[in-house]
Amino acid sequence: MIRFENIGLRYGLGPEVLRDVDFHLVPGSFHFLTGPSGAGKTSLLRMLFMSLRPSRGLIHLFGQNCSDLSSPARADLRRRIGIVFQDFRLLDHLTTWENVALPLRVFGKSEASYRDDVTDLLKWVGLGARMTAYPEVLSGGEKQRAAIARAVIGKPELLLADEPTGNVDPAMANRLLRLFIELNRLGTSVIIATHDFQLMDQCDAPRLVLHEGHLEIR
């Protein structure tokens, strides 16, 4: 499903921040991506999401070589991936319901075809009572759940989450982890970038550890 071959990444003329990264993830897997701050977790996620090109090496996603894809083909591939940002990236002028429905609207589906799905998902993540609220009145945990709901509404095959518990208390972090595990059980591959060891200790999942530009799987 995901194959990184001899990946290296440098910004401009600076030193390589990622060196010789090689790994292969199978469908339905659950991984944590960890390492100290500045180790390159977000850069790796961005490469997985095709918003950053590696300086060298090859990335294969869903059996396709990402380096020679056209712009529409990359957009099509992105539709198979859900991403949860650390800073949520909800659109302030849209309600929670509209934010969650955004990917389906972008895919060109009619509102009638996804109205019930969005409502059910929001109830499932505990935001049933906040569907018409705008992001500015949501709490950090609510925003995070709305961002997760938006990432999974399109039934992605791969879910990437960048520090999804960075802005919430331990109880909420635990609840969000259960949500990711539940999604994984439903068939979605999950990669969670975090440096929260307490969170990782709650789940027996392999860890992709970045250290001094190299990656190892523990």
Partner: protein
């Protein structure tokens, strides 16, 4: 590589293109219909940058419409002067007194009326000739004592004009003290003046046009910068470049059309009120007559107002294209 063209589906594809065109969405919106699927537009309809852009567009469209309207009016007036002057010649009868003089004027008029290519001969009476001098000499009785020459206004057929040199020669050989003025010198001077006016107007129009383009492009770019987050989110949820560009085109075209219409409406009101204002400010004296002579009645006809519509379309298209290039530039930074 072999290129194959699919003409079978051409009407369908064309209809699809028209249906999804940002212009259709904007026209639907103006008519009170829904502009697209979903309850809230993806691009934030009201923002501080958007409002600033609206004001800039409205003002610049107003100025562009005023300038283009003014150039159009001057050009129309210049054309009218030419048409008037080119279709008229003047014959001056200057020697003679009493009934002999009146007889001479009548004979000259009859002679002129017989010439081919002359449509109408209008000999001015002594009073009418005197009135022409009133602005310079006043309305005193002294005019009746002066040997004021008599004028005969002659309207010529512009489609088959007479041989003016032959007419002049015939007049001079048949009548003493009769001269023909074909306004050639006056026409040449007028042509120079009006051409200068129109060229000057076009130069001002180009300057206003350049200022309009620069300020609208700049304001649209600023408004686009404030929408960067929306572009980013759409990109990350899997929107294609064309979809994102289309959403922004729709939004900025809408702003361009609405603000442009406000500016054009302002300019229309100015041009509708201009003739009345000119009458009120200049009164009915000589100054008013000279002003009217110079710029005509300052009434804009319908092709002139159509020009305003063209200005709105150009301004709105400019907004739309700037937003499209802005979207592609931002998206390029992600790939």
């Amino acid at each position: 590589m072999k290129v194959t063209w699919k003409f079978d589906d051409l009407p369908g594809r064309l209809a699809g293109r028209i249906r999804t065109s940002p212009w259709v969405a904007v026209v639907r919106g103006l008519a009170g219909g829904q502009t697209g699927p979903g309850s809230t537009p993806i691009v934030q309809p009201a923002s501080v940058a958007g409002r600033a852009l609206t004001v800039v567009i409205a003002i610049m469209t107003f100025l562009a419409c005023l300038t283009s309207g003014a150039v159009y009016v001057v050009n129309q007036s210049a054309n009218d002067w030419f048409a008037d002057i080119a279709s008229e010649i003047t014959v001056q009868v200057s020697e003679g007194q009493g009934s002999e003089f009146e007889k001479k004027v009548t004979l000259v008029s009859l002679f002129l009326a017989k010439q081919p290519g002359i449509q109408k001969v209008n000999p001015l009476s002594a009073e009418e000739s005197g009135q022409l001098l009133e602005p310079w000499l006043g309305g005193s009785d002294v005019l009746s004592e002066l040997p004021v020459p008599r004028l005969i206004a002659v309207v010529i057929d512009r489609s088959s004009p007479p041989d003016l040199d032959a007419v002049r020669e015939a007049l001079e050989s048949n009548f003493k003290g009769v001269t023909l003025d074909d306004h050639r010198r006056w026409q040449a001077e007028l042509r120079t003046v009006t051409r200068s006016l129109v060229l000057g107007g076009i130069a001002v129009l180009m300057l206003v046009g350049a200022a309009t383009v620069a300020s609208i492009v700049s304001a649209t770019k600023s408004a686009m910068a404030s929408n960067r987050e929306i572009i980013e989110v759409l990109h990350f949820v899997g929107a294609r470049e064309r979809f994102i560009a289309h959403e922004f085109e729709k939004h900025f075209l809408n702003i361009g059309v609405r603000a442009g219409l406000v500016g054009a409406l302002g300019a229309t009101i100015v041009f509708l009120l201009l003739p009345v204002t000119m009458r009120l400010l200049s009164g009915r004296g000589l100054a008013a007559a000279e002003l009217r002579q110079f710029i005509g009645s300052a009434v804009l006809d319908w092709p002139g107002y159509l020009l305003f519509g063209l200005v709105v379309i150009v301004v709105a298209t400019l907004c739309m294209l700037t937003s499209r290039f802005g979207v592609y530039r931002i998206l390029k930074s992600y790939d």
